[in-house]
Symmetry: C2
Subunit: 489 residues, 2 copies
Amino acid sequence: MSDWQSIPCIERHKEFLEKITAILIDCAFESVSRENPVLRWREPNHLQNIINFNLQEQPRDQDDLLEIVAKIFKYSIKTGHPYFMNQLFSGLDPYGLVGQWLTDILNSSVYTYEVAPVLTLMENTVIKKLLSMFYKDENGSMIGDGLFCPGGSFANGIAINLARYWFRKKIQNNKNISSTNLVLFTSEDAHYSILKWGNVCDIEVVLIKTDEYGRMNINDLKVKILEEQKKGNYTFCTIATAGTTVLGAFDPLIEIADICEQFNMWLHVDAAWGGGLIFSRKHSVLLRGIQRADSILFNAHKLLAVPQQCSLLLTKHKSIFKEAHSKHVPYLFQKDKFYPTDLDVGDKYLQCGRRPDVLKFWFMWQAKGTSGFEKHIDHLMKLSALFKEEVEKRDGFKLVTNPCFINVCFWFIPSTLRIQNSIYDYEKRLHEVAPKLKEKMTKRGSLMINYQSLHEKPNFFRFVIQNSGVDTQDIFYVFDELENLGEST
Amino acid sequence: MSDWQSIPCIERHKEFLEKITAILIDCAFESVSRENPVLRWREPNHLQNIINFNLQEQPRDQDDLLEIVAKIFKYSIKTGHPYFMNQLFSGLDPYGLVGQWLTDILNSSVYTYEVAPVLTLMENTVIKKLLSMFYKDENGSMIGDGLFCPGGSFANGIAINLARYWFRKKIQNNKNISSTNLVLFTSEDAHYSILKWGNVCDIEVVLIKTDEYGRMNINDLKVKILEEQKKGNYTFCTIATAGTTVLGAFDPLIEIADICEQFNMWLHVDAAWGGGLIFSRKHSVLLRGIQRADSILFNAHKLLAVPQQCSLLLTKHKSIFKEAHSKHVPYLFQKDKFYPTDLDVGDKYLQCGRRPDVLKFWFMWQAKGTSGFEKHIDHLMKLSALFKEEVEKRDGFKLVTNPCFINVCFWFIPSTLRIQNSIYDYEKRLHEVAPKLKEKMTKRGSLMINYQSLHEKPNFFRFVIQNSGVDTQDIFYVFDELENLGEST
């Protein structure tokens, strides 16, 4: 079997695959070891000299390829490393990883039972279970439906499209309401994907003010709904956030649900980040009211540390996906099949071919149990509380706002800036601190933590974790490292 | 390190990962072996008894998990098997597989250079190279731009959105043209995702007639454009197909490009299936005219047998993704970074977090060279031509239409049905043949090949291959198996 052929043969590939998997297993442990850097920074031009990215006419041999694998690993960011706190994902779950590797071997697409029998039943199981958890359906019967989506942004987009479908159908079955006259509401701290997908759906998005904690201001919501109605627009949907990206705020779901009920609006809850809390008896209180949502977005690859990507869009409207999306395509969803075609789930999706994202999640769930996810979350919440306490305790650290979730936003204030009133251009100088520290930590490879400005606030750091391999000592390490880098500014 | 924690530890997980990877490597070879069945059919209820899908409170132990992995593999479809000819993807490329496994270890998301330095440069390299191939840019300079998308449907959706953006901007910068007045055209044999995403973008899709080979009828396109213009609608976009799903037809790109030029329309070419031909000097002639497209969709996971999924949307309009999609989000795309932020590609996407699809493709390209992809395609085209010849030669087989690409659509006609005129309800009885054969082959596990009806035509089979591990003997096997199953109907 030649290398241009697209299946493996034992003579040519067995040894190669064995060598590669041995390397990959080593990589898994190296990438999470505190003895190694979280990254090895190289300027783009430099990196292009280290790795020859060019695509050639002729093949490279297997020894070359082994070398390339090692280099790719070496210069990639170790997102599973305890000091990677840069995004709303991290960790390298060993069971999740196995789930991914198995998914790759199956190389499947989930649209029909015929092509993906195991994966179809797995998806149904996970969706049913999550519906019962989010919608508190004690009988565990399938009260709604769900979709696996390639990321949370996409899921928000589908939710907007569903809300419009529902609204048009509801308003005297009037399918002719122009998108130009539809308006949806979300907070100014909501995820930017709502603006992007508002554009795609051609629907105006009105931003609602947030309070000092980053929560949607309910009065402003009411005022703006009435304003739009006065203009003659249809106010069809509100998108609340359970865990905003920067501050980790939870919009007041119960009050928003009341308003949606009053004004006949679809309520979508973007719980991409906060949704995982549903697994914790102690902390799921932050999601109170979520069962009133018409649709819920939940990213298992965020708080639960499932590998990238695993996003779910859940809805209580059992048949709306099929109604809104199906095109009854005869070449894929034949009705003269010999098995029950309700298991051919593909037609309820906006995708056709679809990489299976369920297996890694399901496999982790088997390996940890529901109780394992709960321990994972409770551990993360405990460390975040500790982080917050430390910010309050230590000189030179200041909270941006009082957090209720994982996100702890804070300023590091170098000693030269600590007496606020006496310093000219204080805010401007504080604004410059975080980028400088970020550059230093990146070049040193010692820590990855994100910074940003928000509204009128100067640049600040955002602490977040999803990796429950992080421990108390790591928390102290972050403070020490920031002080260390910061004082040498 | 406990199992609920989200990073691996050597003591607890090294042996487990080694056992799993040994199993997975065995699976890779087993799944493509002709000695094993392509599937082991089980009814849904039966399969649920074999695998306990339920999600439990408590964890399962590692031995249980090893057993589960083996079962999942056993009852999943072997999409890499030479007798899997059911979809527009197949094969199990060993280098693509390694690329996936490495991607899983990196567990990254491509939006900033900071978080994905290697993957960002890799994406830029592949996009640049493909632009130079499709747009025949001899200098190899980046004349346009590209996006990696989670599947071709999504890419078609983005193309529609881009076309609208471009049109609104062009028409005197009038951003207020309502979507209700926008109309796009595609053929009745085009992919159903265009209808689905027309809905999402809230744009009407007018279907153009096809000829006997499945190609768009140019006269009908002109007539319908004029009709819509008379109604006062804006005819802003035509979507041509290079390789339709069922018949494998290529719309006449040059004539359609002329019409688009004449009427000031955006031309999108859905080359999800046919696009891979660009790698073959001999067969890329089928794509003649594609360089005139404003945007091109190309699925590397189809004809090139890259693992699921690897879809690219290319455009000749260099800055349109950024213009149409960017929201300049301060928490991710900070402008006060210490490195050039043009490498933070995320803001040109409609997604935020995004699983890297480039590595497997890039790695395969390194392993095979451009010349390897060419050999792969030329082999597939040769086998398809052989398949067509055999259909013409053999009693009981009949072409649905004369094919020009990989797809060979044909009827198997059991001997009891061979004298057409003398049989009452001939078409109805022929229509029932394919589903019956499909049931038999599925239950026997001997072959997977798809059937469908199209327009007025009764059910027929569609032969397709993307797996260049398939050989001449396999082609004869398909005929023998169909005859064998068919005559016992």
